[in-house]
C-alpha cells in the first residue's frame, strides 16, 4: 500500500474514533442535565448555561481529532 493510502486510512480512523467518546460523553451530559431540569425547572437557565459550557469542552476533544484528520487529509 502506498503512503497516501495509509494517510487516508489514518485520517478516517482519527475522526471516526474521536467521535465515539464525544458522542457518549455528550449524551451522558445532556441526560443528566435533562434530569436535573426535570427535578428543578426553576434552575433551567443555570443548568442550560452549564450544560452548554460542558458540551463545548467535550466537543473540543473531538475537534482535536478533526484537526489531525484535516492535517492528514492535506498531506495525501
Amino acid at each position: 500500500m502506498t503512503n497516501a493510502a495509509f494517510i487516508a486510512i489514518a485520517a478516517a480512523i482519527a475522526i471516526g474514533l474521536g467521535t465515539i467518546g464525544t458522542g457518549l460523553g455528550q449524551g451522558n451530559a445532556i441526560a443528566h442535565a435533562m434530569e436535573a431540569m426535570g427535578r428543578n425547572p426553576e434552575a433551567s437557565g443555570t443548568i442550560r448555561t452549564s450544560l452548554l459550557i460542558g458540551l463545548a469542552f467535550i466537543e473540543s476533544l473531538c475537534i482535536y481529532a478533526l484537526v489531525i484528520a484535516f492535517m492528514l487529509y492535506g498531506k495525501i
Binding site: A56, E59, S60, Y64, L66
Partner: protein
C-alpha cells in the same frame, strides 16, 4: 547533502537547513488579514452607530450591548465577586470580535478573491488580471474569516494567556502593596492587616514570588491534610509533579483555545463547502452528463441537488449557533482563567 564519493580529511559539513522559512504571504493569507479588519470594522461601526441610543433607558443597539455587558458581568460576578468588574471590558472585547468573525465565516457571498488548494478546482476564471500578484477567480464560499485560520486563533489564545498572567501578577502586586489582603472584599469591609504595607519595588518582587507560588497549587492543601511521618515522603515528589502539571496546563490552555475555535469554524465551513460542491456536481450533472442522467434521471439529480443545497443551508444555520457558542466558550474560558489567576484564599 554530503556525497559519499569524496571524503576529504575533515568530513564535509552539511549545509544547515533552516528550521522554517519565511515565505512571503500568499494572496490567500492577505484575504484573512483583510477580513480581520472587516470583522473589527463591523464591531466598531455597530458600536459607534449605537452611541445615540445610550440613555437611562437604552434603545435598540445600545440595549443589545448593555444586555451583553450585563450578562458577562453576571458571569464575572459568579466567578470572582465584585472585582470581576475590572475584567469585563477586556473579555467583552474578545467576545465581540470572536462573535463577529465567526458569523462572518457564514456569509454565503460569492467572494471575489484568489482560490487555492481544493477550492481552485471548482472555480470559474472570470478574468486574468495583468498583475502577477494573484489571479482573480470566482469561487463560492472560500473561507476567509479570521477565526478560520490557525494564526488568528493562536493570536487570540496568546492574548488570553498574556492577559490572565498579567492580571494574576497585577493582583499579587496589589496584594503585596496593600499588605497581605485584598483592597476590599465582596462586602466592602476593611482589608486584613496580615503584614505591613510595602513600597512599590518590594511589592513587585514579593508579588512576583507570591504569583510563582501558585504553581505549586494543590500542594499546600495536601500538606495540611496528611499526617506527620507520611507527608514528608509523599509530598516532595508530588510537589515536583504538580509544578510540572501546572506549567504544562498553561501551555495546554493555549493550544486547546486555539484548536477548539479553529476546528469548529473551519470544520463547519468545510462541511458546508463540500455539500455545496456536491450540489453543484449533481446540478451540473442533471444538465450535462448522460451518465448522471442514467444514475437517477434528470429529476432525480435535480432532487438530490436541492436536498444537498438544503443541507448546506441547514449547516449554515447550525453554524450561527455554533459560532455564538464558540465565542461564548472562548470568553468564559478566558474569564475563568483570569478568575483562577486572581483567586486568593484570604
Amino acid at each position: 547533502m554530503p556525497t559519499e564519493t569524496e571524503a576529504p580529511v575533515g568530513h564535509a559539513v552539511e549545509a544547515a537547513k533552516p528550521f522554517f522559512t519565511f515565505d512571503s504571504p500568499s494572496a490567500h493569507d492577505m484575504m484573512f488579514v483583510i477580513w480581520t479588519w472587516v470583522a473589527l470594522l463591523v464591531v466598531v461601526l455597530v458600536a459607534w452607530a449605537a452611541r445615540k441610543d445610550i440613555g437611562i433607558i437604552p434603545r435598540r443597539w445600545a440595549g443589545v450591548f448593555e444586555h451583553i455587558y450585563d450578562w458577562i458581568a453576571d458571569l464575572a460576578h459568579g466567578m470572582m465577586g465584585k472585582e470581576g468588574m475590572r475584567y469585563v471590558p477586556f473579555v467583552m472585547t474578545i467576545f465581540l470580535f470572536v462573535l463577529a468573525s465567526n458569523w462572518l465565516a457564514l456569509l454565503p457571498l460569492p467572494v471575489l478573491g484568489p482560490a487555492e488548494g481544493e477550492a481552485a478546482k471548482y472555480s470559474i476564471v472570470v478574468s486574468e488580471h495583468p498583475w502577477h500578484f494573484f489571479r482573480w477567480e470566482f469561487h463560492e464560499f472560500q473561507l476567509e474569516a479570521p477565526t478560520g485560520n490557525l494564526h488568528t486563533t493562536l493570536a487570540l489564545a496568546l492574548i488570553s494567556f498574556v492577559a490572565f498572567n498579567f492580571f494574576g501578577l497585577r493582583k499579587h502586586y496589589e496584594m503585596a502593596r496593600s499588605g497581605g489582603g485584598h483592597g476590599h472584599d465582596d462586602h466592602g469591609h476593611a482589608p486584613h492587616h496580615g503584614a505591613p504595607a510595602r513600597d512599590p519595588i518590594t511589592s513587585l518582587f514579593t508579588g512576583f514570588f507570591t504569583w510563582l507560588a501558585h504553581f505549586i497549587e494543590p500542594t499546600p492543601t495536601l500538606w495540611k491534610s496528611l499526617d506527620a511521618p507520611m507527608k514528608y515522603f509523599l509530598v516532595p515528589p508530588l510537589l515536583v509533579l504538580f509544578i510540572g502539571l501546572n506549567i504544562i496546563e498553561e501551555f495546554a490552555r493555549i493550544i486547546s483555545l486555539t484548536i477548539r475555535l479553529f476546528g469548529n469554524i473551519f470544520g463547519e465551513h468545510q462541511v458546508k463547502f463540500w455539500l455545496f460542491v456536491a450540489m453543484g456536481m449533481f446540478a451540473g450533472g442533471a444538465l450535462v452528463s448522460a451518465q448522471a442522467a442514467a444514475f437517477a434521471g434528470v429529476a432525480g439529480n435535480a432532487l438530490l441537488a436541492v436536498l444537498l443545497w438544503g443541507s448546506s443551508v441547514f449547516v449554515t444555520l447550525i453554524g450561527t449557533l455554533a459560532g455564538f457558542i464558540q465565542a461564548f466558550i472562548f470568553m468564559v474560558l478566558t474569564l475563568s482563567y483570569i478568575a483562577h489567576a486572581v483567586a486568593t484564599e484570604h
